[in-house]
Symmetry: none
Subunit: 416 residues, 2 copies
């Protein structure tokens, strides 16, 4: 099966935005079907270019995924070009219009003439409504080629590609092959170490493909079992997952859809315990990660982002004298922040961060990238010093994940 | 001038690596010459696909930049395909071979037969030695089209593209067209409304292209002025930017590289004022956005993520009775949180959020997506109620940006 992608959008050709969507599709397609994309094309918002690209791809492919250019503005040309290239009219989809009207009514916004354009699709195409946005997805068949048209907004793209496009391609492909995928997620383990640890597994199981995915600060081990029988392939995968978990030990925090904040909250919930935070250099990021999980309020008290020294005193009861004596970035501060928040709020666990995220700040003893963590719990306060590398964003994100991993390991070592 | 890019490499089509090189070229090209790339193609390591892509691009372009596939291994096919597509032989470049021999000798490594392949180029092409690596760059002319072939290793690519390719394209272009780009950024204005507001501008200035970019929760207006004279084109762009700013009014928060958190911090800094937060449903996200800006500590005090009711009382001094009477998601709570944090910390501005991010929670009066904002400032407390749509992540992100925009507008309306 020959598969190609076409993305439209001037912004993808001027160095401002890169096409991250295609990478998502490529990965999902490979995992689910074993197929790879043969060509990936980006064209600007130009009718002739779009039509030429559609015609050339339709002539040589079994499947084409087209994204972008389905919005309500005058530079959104994809539906019009799709109709023109196939030599059919652009017609109104009543189903798509109803979806638009309902969506706008629910928001109390008036549907403009521009928005109505989003209900226009090439005659003969199949419409799939988009639960994440106003523009529908549509599917067009030209000869032996099936063309999927999806919006380019990443959230909408990912939803539609994951829920409709990739499953439809898998159905078009047919065949007897069974593929089962597992992801084991680690934090704090470099990819090269991960590779060395699991290499013996790869040699032992020829029907399981071992791969890696880097999602900084996490590294994921990808295990893909291929076979002809559903049950046997699942059993093979579970066996390799079990062996990999032994090899990875405590560095593996979860599997598949599990997230580090989700795992931490679940462990707290199981123990009927609460966590509170005092964040300095991570600036609210750990809070944000924990509260991104729905239902966090049954295990998460809240967090103080104690950015200024005054805030450390006000919200985390850190004595002013201690900050003056040891500095805000110190083991003593981290300890006092965690202890102060734990005592002040009455939670079981309090976690603190203080460090230099950069690019400014730091000194010889605590250069940029240095972060102290404090974890106050039932048996006292533990302090750790880490050094992270990279820019401000990277230091903050690695520090936030390391802090969550510290509380995870401490919880796993404590009674459930 | 029509310019396209072709990148080769299977790794760019399996979701593992994305093509960051093209984005570098696009940006450098636009900055240096004002030209934009019309199409960007990625093909795998397959002879037929590479040759077909080269022929199609050479037939319609003035310039093609080809990258990747110039290494020493057997899946490096670009030089061979470039020769075959042009119908010429692959010949040894003595200059390139000398460079290879010297490079390897300097490193004390023996030149392998594979490495010698890197000195083979299509007959008639111009060779440019590569100071950063072993594979040379070569330039091939086919009819009216100039094709540049550069290695895909990012360091080598950037060096050769910056030092040779872009300057050569500027020379080919000669003293023709000048292009100047501006982005105006808005929040809280749907893309379709943005389009309607600026449509008269597009009609008035035929030499300025008006486009849109959606970066939820922001929408950006893109203005591209085209002319023949550097100063006149800049002046034209500035005139349209000034008119667009009038049309957009207060919905426009910044231009080009400016960010909403950065604009808020700058406005505070100019007034020597500090901001503190009490976040409930946004869960630390506003904190995180503000502290992602280096130097935030000269205008940002910190924030309390008051997730549980107890946290609202502890850190934002909200009376327990008030929460019991009105509920945590209420105008009264938002007001009390902002007032409590402002009084407790001594800052000039305190901003609060409380609402239902979903999917759980909400009631008839305050359904999921309802968020109350409180802003306590020198003249009292202002409360706003908003309703956002979409999933938890979307509600939180739209609420965080709306909150930042509330403080921005209040600052802009207050003495500087």
């Amino acid at each position: 099966m020959r598969i190609e992608t076409i993305c439209t959008g001037d912004e993808l050709l001027t160095g401002l935005t890169s096409d991250t969507n295609s990478r998502f599709f490529q990965g999902a397609l490979l995992d689910r079907t074993g197929l790879t994309v043969k060509r990936s094309v980006v064209v600007g918002d130009d009718r002739d270019d779009i039509i030429e690209a559609l015609d050339a791809a339709a002539a040589r492919c079994d499947v084409v995924l087209v994204s972008g250019g389905l919005g309500p503005t005058s530079d959104d040309l994809t539906a019009e070009c799709a109709a023109k290239a196939a030599g059919v009219a652009l017609v109104q989809s009543d189903q798509a219009l109803r979806h638009l009207v309902e969506r706008f009514e629910a928001r109390g916004i008036v549907l403009s003439e521009n928005n109505r354009r989003q209900a226009m699709v090439p005659a003969g195409s199949e419409v799939v409504l988009n639960a994440e946005g106003s523009a529908p997805m549509f599917i067009q068949v030209r000869g032996r080629c099936t063309l999927f048209y999806v919006p380019g907004v990443p959230r909408e793209y990912r939803h539609l590609v994951g829920a409709f496009v990739v499953p439809r391609i898998a159905a078009l492909k047919g065949g007897a092959e069974v593929r089962k995928l597992a992801l084991l997620k680690t934090v704090g383990l470099p990819e090269s170490h991960l590779d060395e640890r699991v290499r013996p597994l790869a040699a032992k199981y020829p029907n399981v493909t071992v791969g890696f995915r880097t999602h900084p600060p996490e590294n994921h081990l990808k295990l893909l079992a291929v076979g002809t029988d559903e049950a046997a392939t699942s059993a093979l995968l579970e066996q390799v997952v079990a062996e990999a978990r032994v090899v990875l030990g405590a560095t593996c925090f979860g599997r598949d859809d599990e997230t580090l904040p989700g795992v931490v909250l679940r462990a707290l919930r199981q123990r009927r315990q609460f966590l509170a935070l005092a964040e300095s250099c991570t600036g609210g990021l750990i809070c944000e990660l924990l509260t991104s999980v729905s239902g966090a309020s049954d295990a998460f008290y809240g967090g103080a982002c104690t950015y200024l020294e005054a805030a450390k005193t006000k919200w985390a009861d850190v004595p002013e004298g201690l900050l003056a004596q040891f500095g805000a970035v110190s083991a003593e501060s981290a300890e006092a922040m965690a202890r102060g928040v734990r005592d002040g709020t009455g939670v079981t666990w309090a976690l603190s961060t203080t460090g230099w995220a950069g690019p400014a700040g730091g000194d010889a003893q605590n250069p940029v990238g240095t972060v102290y963590f404090g974890l106050a719990g039932p048996t006292g306060v533990k302090v750790e010093k880490h050094r992270f590398h990279g820019d401000r964003e990277r230091v903050r994100s690695f520090a936030a994940f390391a802090a969550l991993d510290l509380i995870r390991r401490s919880l796993e070592g404590s009674p459930s």
